[in-house]
Point group: C2
Chain length 189, copies 2
């Protein structure tokens, strides 16, 4: 994914040692060609996993997930973030804490779209502390589905998400792995 690494180098803005902004091609403006390439690369890396559903979270996970879904010919489900929800029998709910925003949200999916024995691939734009990925895993597992992998566009490898997920035995594929954001510089593995 040289195209992705180049974009991060040229357009990513390092706001602090922990924060990288990629609003010009992923999180606000979307570069469709790059997201298409990301989808194709996820498909290549997970092609033997017999994926039946892709699970992502609004809003920035949707673009890579739908290109991947088209390539693999499987549906995409996006979890919704809500401040807090009124109980609803038809929803699966997981609490997700955002360290960046210092807030906890309910993340929900309907019970109607992920089933027992589904092979679910989780897709997200960033992996940092792993809270969003763990929330999505929790939703899939509440539905008794199998989580067969986690596809991440940008991993901040110096934060704890990667090791948390590896400890639990999940297969992670991150297309850009960032070693450090120190001194306003992005360095990759």
């Amino acid at each position: 994914m040289n195209l992705l690494l180049e974009k991060i180098k040229n357009e990513g803005r390092v706001l602090s040692e922990n924060v990288l902004k990629v609003d010009s091609f992923i999180n606000h403006q979307i570069d469709p060609k790059l997201m298409y390439e990301v989808g194709i690369e996820f498909a290549r890396r997970f092609k033997n996993k017999q994926i039946t559903k892709i699970l992502t979270i609004e809003s920035s996970g949707i673009a890579p997930a739908v290109f991947l879904g088209l390539e693999l010919d499987v549906p995409v489900i996006f979890a919704r973030k809500r401040k807090s929800i009124t109980l609803n029998d038809n929803l699966l709910v997981s609490k997700v804490h955002s360290f960046t925003k210092q807030e906890t949200n309910d993340v929900t999916i309907s019970k109607d779209y992920i089933f027992e024995n589904d092979n679910v691939l989780i897709v997200d734009d960033f992996l940092a502390n792993g809270q969003a990925a763990l929330g999505l895993i929790n939703l899939a597992e509440q539905a008794n589905a199998n989580v067969v992998g986690i596809g991440i566009i940008i991993e901040k490898s110096f934060q704890e998400g990667r090791s948390l997920l590896l400890e639990k035995g999940y297969h992670i594929e991150s297309l850009a792995r960032i070693k450090s954001l120190a001194n306003g510089q992005v360095s990759f593995y």
Copy 2:
């Protein structure tokens, strides 16, 4: 767009005379093949408009917008919905009232991605009362861009959005136009 009309007929759920749920292929689970076809059809209908940017709103507008963006080779910007924002010099803000949810949200885009003389195509999943589309138009016009058209997947033609936008002279292309949801039935034009 027969594929779309078939999907609506077979999987859409009429919850009331005003509410059609399409959670199984657009608003929660996404059918990537259908969204690809929607993107290609928008591209065909707006191909002479010299579009330079696509503007949509999170979350359900993103999937059709990115397939369209790939086809036309232009960036996609998704506006964010927020309960209410703290003033920020770099944001354009518009108030959007949702009649369905009975709430008013701030809808925002950064000033960094849409410019004077951009030819902006607005894309959304539904056109009902037109409030979301008018909010997006307002954002693009605050940036002094030209709004060259509005691409809608499902138009509830019996609500006032279509006529409001036509009165103001905008070009609308809706892929499914619903005449009525009376008696639990979807009838198309």
